[in-house]
Point group: C2
Amino acid sequence: MDQSALTRKLSAFVRLSDTDRATVARFFLRRRSFSVGHELTHEGQVNASAFVLAEGWACSYKMTPEGDRQIVDFQVPGDFLGLRSILFRTSDHSIEAVTRIKATEVLASDLFDAFAEAPRLATAVLWAASRDEAMVVEHLVNLGRRTAEERTAHLLLELGTRLKLVGLADNAGFDCPLTQYHLADALGLSAVHVNRVLRHLREEKLMTFQKGRVSFDDFAGLTDVAGFDTSYLDQDGPLLR
Amino acid sequence: MDQSALTRKLSAFVRLSDTDRATVARFFLRRRSFSVGHELTHEGQVNASAFVLAEGWACSYKMTPEGDRQIVDFQVPGDFLGLRSILFRTSDHSIEAVTRIKATEVLASDLFDAFAEAPRLATAVLWAASRDEAMVVEHLVNLGRRTAEERTAHLLLELGTRLKLVGLADNAGFDCPLTQYHLADALGLSAVHVNRVLRHLREEKLMTFQKGRVSFDDFAGLTDVAGFDTSYLDQDGPLLR
DNA sequence: CGAACCTTTGAGCGTCCTCAACCTGCGTGG
DNA sequence: CCACGCAGGTTGAGGACGCTCAAAGGTTCG
């Protein structure tokens, strides 16, 4: 995936002009690479920068005083990293590379300049931020009101849907670099229990999580189990205005 | 509380000029009242409006297909209601009045006009939106990684801190119109268990939740139990720039 | 002054946790 | 080239936290 991942995602929301595309292209000048486990932003860090993820997977998380980790969200190509903390004195969360990643730094000033030049793009970026928040809200519902099995299915279906938007998944499944520990940290479960849940989903012939690959064996059945409704991802064709 | 709640909150982040204050004041022209239980926004509603809460309490929530409710956040005077869904075709959540409330409607156009006239105010509003998201993230950590007791203490400490910002609480406690059902729906617990947790917190002489009043009997001890760290609320004095 | 709503308490049960052990695949270095 | 270490995955046993069901007081408001 190169710069097309971001434009492809934003286009799901707003029809972008050539000027808009050119402006987005400028975001991709300062491209950098980070190795597995690299921490792009640390909780408490001042003046953290934001990035656009071009290739690979990342995750954002917070730690409790007891040393437990809660993953807030995973980021896939086309997603922003740390957009929210741009307005905060100190970042309230950490961001870590799950795989080796390529990302481009976006300075706050870049963003504000882009807003002035391309208001349509500004709208699209604000939409992307709102969508990020909507995903966090859905994760909250996941943890608060769904069982371990529903929760797991829901997360993997969401990731599949998001990856489809940038051409990295289809209804059959997607390549997934996450470990069961990652899932556990995201789902508020223990890794041991995640393992049992995945086994059960496999036995029920709903889906398979193995060898870096998620396979949806029964997409409709899985969607039903998870109570998965894509509307919070707000991606059904370019918006009005 | 009148309009001062919003300006008071925003001032915690940005020093507002008289012009900014005047612009904020214009938000308060279309003031409306809603009775207890009134639903200001419904999940799935198209073109929902946003409001600024002037008086009373509200909550935002989502329902699962099984009919369980997850409260995402409570809103107190000075908070925005539904700011996020302004950019969405359809709202991804519902908003309900917990008490009788007074709120003023904010049209998307109002907001964009205000941004053009008072960029400093725009920054402040974006900060408020980021802060809202940071709170949702902290609630996620709450549900994923804290025990029922820690979680309950954390939520009530957060509400206390937020209310202090608009002059409705101090370290002794605050008036709280929530029922144990509200707490249960926000904390991902059953109302029965919330009741037991509250009893335990009372027995431990940490805090009391009774008769519409939250009393912090041992503020330091409670903060410690909850692992409560205010930094995600990002409110330590006006920002740079 | 009744009804609806909220709070409180008990009993039994299930989901998910912790601890513990063992297996696999892989990269590294002796 | 094998030995080892290590990260990740798998499975079992026992226990705790929080749930459901049930029933009874308390409070508030029309």
